[in-house]
Amino acid sequence: MLRFDGVVKRYAQPEGEVTVLAGVDLAIAPGEAVALLGESGSGKSTLLHLAAGLDAPDAGRIEVGGQTLSMLDERALAALRRGTVSLVFQQFHLIGTLTVADNIRFQAALCDRLDPAFEAELVERLGLGAQLDKYPHQLSGGQQQRVAIARALLHRPPLVLADEPTGNLDERSSGAVMALFRELVQAAGSALLMVTHSHGMADYLDRRLWLHDGRLQHAPG
C-alpha cells in the first residue's frame, strides 16, 4: 500500500544542511497497521508528510497504492489525498462553521464516497449520535478527535496516516480512542501508519518501526 525506496530528505538550517531521512526503505501492506516511533526531531512527521505528498523527497521513490508520487502533479496529488490517503493529526482541524454531521461527511463528500450505513456505524461506535447537530466548538477535545477519526475513515481510504492522533487527549481517553481507532481502521479495511511517542499507543498496532539517525529500524514489540 505504501512503499519508500531509498528516500532522502534534507533541510537547510542556519548551521548547515541537515539530513532528516537518509535513505529510508519502507513497505506497508494493505490493511497493515504500523507504528512509527522515534525521538523528537527524528523526522517522523517528515516521513508522514512525504507519504501524504505534502512534501517532496530530495531523493528516492515513494509509492502510494501503486502510484509514484513524484509522477503526480498538484491536481493528482490532491485527488490522491482526497480518495486514497486520510490524515489524522493531533490538532483536529475540524471545519468550525459546519456541524459535526457535515464534518464527518466532508471528505467522503469530496470524493463522492458517502456510505450511510458505515456512517451510522462510525457515529454509533464513536458515541457521536447526540452531537451531530452541534458545532465543533461545542464539543470536548476527545469528542472533536472522534469526529476527525470518523471524517478520516468514512470513505474507507486505503491508507490512513496519523500523527499523534491522541496527543491532545489525557491518558485514559487516549487509550479508549486509540482502541476504537484501531478497530475502525480495520473495519474500513485501511492500512495505517501512525506516528507516536508512546509505546503504549504503539501496542495497539501490528508492528513498530524506530526512526533513528534518518534510518528506519524494526523496534522490538
Binding site: 512527521s45 508528510h49 512534501d55 489525498r81 493531533q90 471545519i95 462553521t97 463528500a109
Partner: protein, 833 residues
Amino acid sequence: MRPAEPERLGGVLRALLSHYRRHPWQALFLLAGLVAGVALWSAVQVINSHARASYAEADYMLGAQATHWIRSRSGAGVAPADYIALRRAGFRQVFPVVQARVATADNAPLAIVATDLLALPTGDGGEALDEADLDWLAFIQPPYQAWYPAALAQELGVAAGDRLALHDGRRLPPAVIAAREQQGRQILMDVGAALSLLGREHFTALAVGAITPAEAARLVDALPADLQLEANQQRVDLTELTASLHTQLTAMSLLSFAVGLFIVFNAVRFSLWYRRPTLRTLRLMGVSMRALTLAVLAETLVWSVIGCALGLAAGYGISLALLPGMSATLQNLYGAVVGSEVLLDVRTVALAWALTLAGLALALAWPLLLQLRGPVIAANTAAAAWRDDARARRVLLVGAAGMVLLAVAVYWHMRTVVGGFVLLALVLFAAAWALPALLAAAQRGLGRALAGAPLARRWIVSDGRAQLPALRTAMMALLLALTANLGVETLIGSFRTALADWLDQRLGADLYVNSPRLDAPRFVADPANAGWLAAGHARTGVTLRWQGRPAKVYGLDTTTPDTHRLPLATAAPQALARWSAGAGMPPPILANEQAHYLGGLQLGQTVTLPADDGPADYTVVGFFHDYGNPYYQFYLPREALERRWHAVQPTGLALWLTPGASEAAAEAALQAAGVQPGEWSAQGDIKRLSLKIFDRTFAMTAAMNTLTLLVAGAALLTALLAILHERLPEFAQWRALGVTRRELLRVIALPLGLFVGLTWLLAIPLGALLSWLLIHDLNVMAFGWSMPMLWSPLPALKLGLLSAGIVALVLAIVLTQLTRKLPQAMAQLGSAS
C-alpha cells in the same frame, strides 16, 4: 517610578515591538492605513489653509480690495490730467487702472490690467509685488514689460522675453513670467504701456485704497464734474464666500481619514491576534499592568509619530497633485485665485498628529488595553473570535440605531452646512455600523436557504461566518467609500444635467458680446444690421450691496426671446407677465435662487434695494436658477432699472441671427462698430466652456472619490491577507484532506463576493439617500441653488464593476501569497506547535 521600572518598561516595549520585526508586513499595513488617512486629510488641510492664505494675499491685489472707485459719469474714462491733479492735491491712495479684453492671434481671450506700480499705496500690492523680485524700472519704461502668471504663460506658450501677438497684429511688451499667481488670467503691465498698446487716452477708472470718511468727503469735493466716487460694491470676503466649499472638502477628507482608520483597525486586529501569546507570557511572567499599559501607550506614540510624518509627506505630494483642480474650482465658482506653491504649516502638522493619536488610541491602544484587562488565559479559539464578533456586531447595531435616531433629530433642526455634514456622517456611519449585522444575517439566511444543498455548497456559504470577523471593518470601509462615490456621482451628474439644460434655455442667442466700446441699443437699432440681425438684447446693470454681499441688478428687455423663456425655479402665478408689465405695488422683481436660499428672501416678500434716489421696494414674484454664481442677482425690466438707478452700465448684448445669416457677417458688423476680437463669443463656445469649467471644478471631487475607493480597496486587501495568515494552518489542513487549490480559492472568494455584492447593493439606496441630502439640503444651504435629482444606474454599475475589479485584484494577490505560503504550512501540519 522605581529605578528598575524604565529598564523593565524598555524590555516590555522591545518585546511588544519585536513582533513587527518578525512580521514587517503587519507594520506595513498599520502604516499604510495611517499614511492613507493622514495623507488625504492633510492634503485637503494644506489646500484649504493655502487657499485661505491666498485669499488674504489677494486682498492686497491690485484693485481687488479698493474701497472706492472713481469713474466717469459719461463712461469716457478718467483723463490722466485729472489723476495727476488728484495726486498733486495729496490723494496718495488714488491710483490709475486700465482694464481691457483682448484676443490673441489664436482668438484666445485675455484680460489686460494695468496700473502705475509706483503709485500703489502701501498695503495695496506694494509688499506683495516686492516679493516678485521683478525689475520695476524695466516695467515702467519702454519697451515695458508684460507680467504673466506662470500658468497662463504656459497655457499660451509664452516664454520670458516673448512679445505675444494679438489678433489685430499688435504685440504685447516683452513677457516676464511672474511666480505670483494671484492675478489669475490677467496680464499685468504699466498704464503707459497699456494706453499706448490699446490706443486709448483715458484710464478705465481710478482705484482708491483705504480712506477715511473725511478724506472721502474731501475727495468728492476735489473731483471734476464728470467724475464720481462710488463705493466698491464688488469687494468680497472670499474666506466667508468659500467657507461652504472648504467645509465640504474637510468633510470628505475626514471621511478618507475614517476609511484609512479601517485599515489600521484591520492591521491592529491582525497584530493583536499574533501578539496574544506574547502578552499572555508577559503577564504570566509578572509584568505589571502599569508597565504593559505604558508600553502600549509608548507603542501608540511611536506609530503616531512615524505614521503622521509619512502621512504628512504623502499629503503634501497629494496636495500638489490636487491643487490645479482645487484652483480651478475656486476660480470658476468664486473668482478666487490660488497660487501653486503650498506649504505645510504648524497648525496642520499639530492637527494631523492629534488626529493620528486619537485614531490610534481608538484603533490600537483601546483594543490592546481591553485585551490586557481580560483574563490571562483567555479562550483562543475561532469560536471565541466569533463570539467576540457577534458581541461587536450587536454593539455596532445598537450604536447604529442610536445614530439613526440622532440623525432624525439633526435633520429636523439642521440649519447650517456643518449641521448638514454631521447629518451625512451620522447616516453614513449608522449604515456602516449596521452592515456587519446585516451581512451576518444574510449569511445565516443563505445558509438556511441552502440547507438541502450539497455539502460543498453549504461549506462555502458557512465559511462566510469564519471570514466575517476579519472582513467586518473592510466591508464597513467599502460601504463608506461606495456610498460616498455614488452620492457624489449622482450629485455631479444631476448638477451637470441641470447646468446643461439651464444653459440650453438661457443661451438661446447666437452671439454674446461684451465690449465697453459698443453702443448696444444703437447697434441693435441700426438698419444696416437688419439683414442678418433677427433680435438683440442689450442688458444693463448696477452693482450694489445686499445683505453684506455684492449684488447685481440687471435691466432686461422684456420683448426678447430669452426673457420670454426665462427658466424660473419657483414663481407666483403669471410671474413673467406681471413682471414684464410692472404690474402691482411695489413693482415685481425676479431674484436668483441664492437670494432665496442664502439671503432668506421669500416669494411675495418685499425686497428693498439701495437705489440712487433712496430705498426702492419690490415684490419678489419669482426665483430663477443661477448656477455657479456666488452672488445675489435681481432682474428688473430695463426701464424700471433705469428709472431708479442712473449710472447703469452695459452688461452685454445677445444677438439672434436671421435664419441663414452667417456669423461672419455679424462679426464683420461688430468689428465695424469697434468691438475687438475676444469681446464676443458664439453660443456653442460658451456652452462648451461652461461645461468644461464645470468638469474642471469637480475634478478634485472625483480625485478624492477615487482615492477613498483605493483606500477601501487597500482595507479589503489587508483584511483578506489577515484571513490568509490567520487561517493558513486550516487551509493547509483542507489541502491535506484533498481540497484542490481551486476549491480553496472558491471558499475564500465566494463568501467575499457575497459580502462585497451585498455591500454594493446596500450602497445603492444609501448613495441615493446621500445624494438626495446633498442635492436637496446641503447644496442648497452651501451654494443656494437647487436642481432636480437625476438617478442613473450607470454610476452604480460602474462602481459594481470597479469593486469586482478590486476584489479580483485583491484575490489575485491573495492567491499568489497562498501559493507561496501553503507548501510550508502543509509541511508543518500536525507538528505540535
